[in-house]
Symmetry: C2
Subunit: 177 residues, 2 copies
DNA sequence: TGGTAATGGCTAACGATGTTCGCTAAAGTA
DNA sequence: TACTTTAGCGAACATCGTTAGCCATTACCA
């Protein structure tokens, strides 16, 4: 850190305000889902008027992209903390998603804005999975997709109410073992 | 069909109007995606004003549910027409989805309104898949989810641009073979 | 230290959205 | 023919994301 690069106090405050807004956005989404996230509601939560948000953010999409990044980050940590076998990873994936259903939706339901995302975050999050299938990227994508599909369908209530989802997950893990 | 059950001409016209509206809705979604489907736009397409739509439909959600049903129907037909092996079914699934991306989104992205749906449609559509995995319902759900996950991630641009998705599909099919 | 520029709030407002209301003319029915 | 139902209409409302314009405070610099 050279002197020239030291961030000015004003920049620090600016960044802190932005973080505060994004944290509030995440809280709203966690509490009330994506459809609960409104610019006015968000502004309210941080104690300002909606138009003032635009002094800190370009538009609502920027909020969603930030949430997407946050989701990827948190999910990646959950996967990294799991035992390095397919069953444990699958379980970690599923429980993270069920614990953060709305954030999961934001994280995976929006088209990925690659250039807006921290470079490498994506592959970093997927890394434990790639490792566990022996480095075969195609297989890794198939497993990832299977897990995502199971979660997505479960979250959207697409399985019959009496479906044994534990068994479905087991079947998936078994297939890729 | 007894005499008493024969639908009156007025009921027939009513139903036809409704069908016309839903067909227009499907066309709009196919052309411009779900976000292009607006009540005013829809009304315009069938030559009326937006409020008049509510003489035929309860609300916009009813339109979406109808589209969901239509998607399930069309997709089920595509699957039923495929060769009864996993590779062919997977290919049929994928190409239907890629041919109808927006309809696919409506069909699978919304929470399923089971009670609003034609009973049995769901399991009918899934039938070819269940058959090909030998009747094991858990395995069938895992395969279904894997296919859905692959399509969903592809449609949302979640795979790296240079990813070989044919290979990913092959890996999935191979795993469940 | 005083003057100037940038920052970060505000209110008002716009256009688009889904939807409700009340009216009316036509169609169907007795 | 008289009544009721139907299916359209325009006006309007609340909510949404967002823009414009204004203003006080803050930061910076001669």
């Amino acid at each position: 850190m050279s002197l020239a690069e030291r961030p000015s106090p004003v920049a620090v405050r600016r960044a802190a305000r932005r973080e505060q807004i994004l944290a509030a956005a995440e809280a709203i989404v966690a509490a009330d889902g994506v459809e609960g996230l409104t610019m006015r509601r968000l502004a309210d939560e941080v104690g300002m008027q909606a138009p003032s948000l635009y002094k800190h953010l370009r538009d609502k999409e920027e909020v969603l992209v930030a949430l997407q990044e946050s989701a990827l980050q948190s999910m990646g940590e959950a996967l990294a903390g799991a035992e390095p076998d397919l069953g444990s990873l699958a379980a970690a994936y599923r429980s993270w998603a069920l614990d953060h259903p709305a954030l999961y939706e934001v994280g995976t339901g929006l088209a990925l804005r690659r250039n807006a995302l921290t470079p490498g975050l994506e592959s970093w999050a997927a890394e434990p999975l790639v490792a566990v299938v022996g480095g075969d990227e195609h297989r890794a994508r198939a497993v990832w997709a299977a897990a995502h599909g199971l979660v997505d369908l479960e979250l959207h209530d697409r399985f019959p109410p009496d479906a044994d989802l534990d068994a479905a997950w087991a079947a998936m893990v078994d297939a890729f073992k």
